[in-house]
Symmetry: C2
Subunit: 325 residues, 2 copies
Amino acid sequence: MKAELLAALREAEEYVSGQELCERFGVSRTAVWKEIRQLREAGYRIEAVQNRGYRLCEAPDSLEESELESIRRTTWVGDRIVCFKEVDSTNTKAKQLAEEGYPNGTLVIAEQQRAGRGRRGRGWEAPAGAGIYMTLLLKPEIEPDNASMLTLVSALAVTAGLRSATGRPVGIKWPNDIVMNGKKICGILTEMSAQVDYVNHIVIGIGINVHNESFPGEIAHMATSLYLETGVHYQRAALIEEIWERFERYYDIFMQTQDLTGLTREYNACLVNLHQEVKVLDPKEPYEGKAMGITPRGELMVDTWESRRLVSTGEVSVRGIYGYV
Amino acid sequence: MKAELLAALREAEEYVSGQELCERFGVSRTAVWKEIRQLREAGYRIEAVQNRGYRLCEAPDSLEESELESIRRTTWVGDRIVCFKEVDSTNTKAKQLAEEGYPNGTLVIAEQQRAGRGRRGRGWEAPAGAGIYMTLLLKPEIEPDNASMLTLVSALAVTAGLRSATGRPVGIKWPNDIVMNGKKICGILTEMSAQVDYVNHIVIGIGINVHNESFPGEIAHMATSLYLETGVHYQRAALIEEIWERFERYYDIFMQTQDLTGLTREYNACLVNLHQEVKVLDPKEPYEGKAMGITPRGELMVDTWESRRLVSTGEVSVRGIYGYV
């Protein structure tokens, strides 16, 4: 009942009486008191005032199931939340859970990743407690060919969530890097298990730099954190909630057409490359042009002097000509 | 050294002396004798004649690592062989091993599957000892879009292997069912774990009915076994070897172009649907036409009265108009 108790404390404008809590959960005053004590031990500052009751003054930056569930407002994302102190990678863990039968919407969250992974087997820095390392498990009825577009849906959800939480300009570097001031703040790794014409499951891994105060030399010029950009230590659970609420909305729109038709306008509004000169690192023949936004399939439209070209997701990398983005 | 000893016994035209075996493996006569005894206990009939040595008279229908390795002639398929008495499904097991870092070419084989799977989560009958239940793990450098064609490469390898072993007509029902006399003798289930533009791994599961003497009523009209068709109880290890030897050859050809350009002729020669009237169960609008073979992408060309249509692998089912196939 820890999550429900936390939710009740949060819901209350001011104090909530012990009596009310007892009745609500059908337990004794001692039981309520025991839970309160455990929450305090976990870092929650809870005031108790004679004849008034309990009041939640401050919550720790917790990624416990109880904290996440107490603030959850999503419909199906996070129906099952599985939290770990440490995993190899949340994607690997989510894939295991998928094979074990965990349902659509399961959310895997870890305080630390021993072997965080980026695209194509690259590493991803994931120090303990500094970031959000989470993976959503999906078992959607879609064509395998449409799965990669979910990466862009996720990028949009993260961007909108971080914009709302921070009030700062957060943008997308096509296809799915999230940037602030030209530096990367979030990476997304989508993986799929599929048969020829049937998706077994999709995992969407999201890594966000939240509290990091510095980055190793070789990536310092291109990585940043919410703290470095804003000076604020955001509560990770609240950010997670912001992101998945938006994800559910965008996901519904995506599923209507199984493509990005209903999301291109919003995506392009977040696109830092929009109307910028970019270099497309096509392995056959690199070329330059102006990025004109995405198509409903998530391809980047790049206008060269001669013609419009469509860059497929992930097929090549796109670099801004001026600066990193 | 069991596999090596078996290989030496098989290699020998007639008898191979104990002395020769001792020298070859650098062990004592007692050690050789101990291995011989263990092989006999495992069902091998090995003659021992004074002053001549050992002779292998008969081998059991074993799926032990030692048996498989002693007859292995492939180059890289089966570099690692992992055998189980019983698994949920060899595909599931192979996917686990892939995540644990097992290499390209690992072969998973089981005597029995508790939860054998067909396409789209359908079941697959896999009684103990009656069939071959195996999965090959691949980590190829190919585009995810090209992976589904490996199912057709595998179908070709199974067909060629079974034709060679039995001398009987074995055919392919597009895309990847293997049939004898119009009944299914083998199913193939290919699954892939991929990122947007990067294949993590592919597993190719192959189930072959070998010794089955009957099938449950509801599938009896469309399923058969090698034994039912030929009256012969084939050694499963030898069939496995026949199949993967051919697979390696076809795989090389596939990888040259990453499509079926070099294999369409051979595939079409095995295609039982070729030049037959077929019904394409397109969910939008079923239609009939004549199957004209596959394209280099593995699509089935179907000529209707008006035009040629291309049927994508797995997108729809194709039924012969006359009979099951």
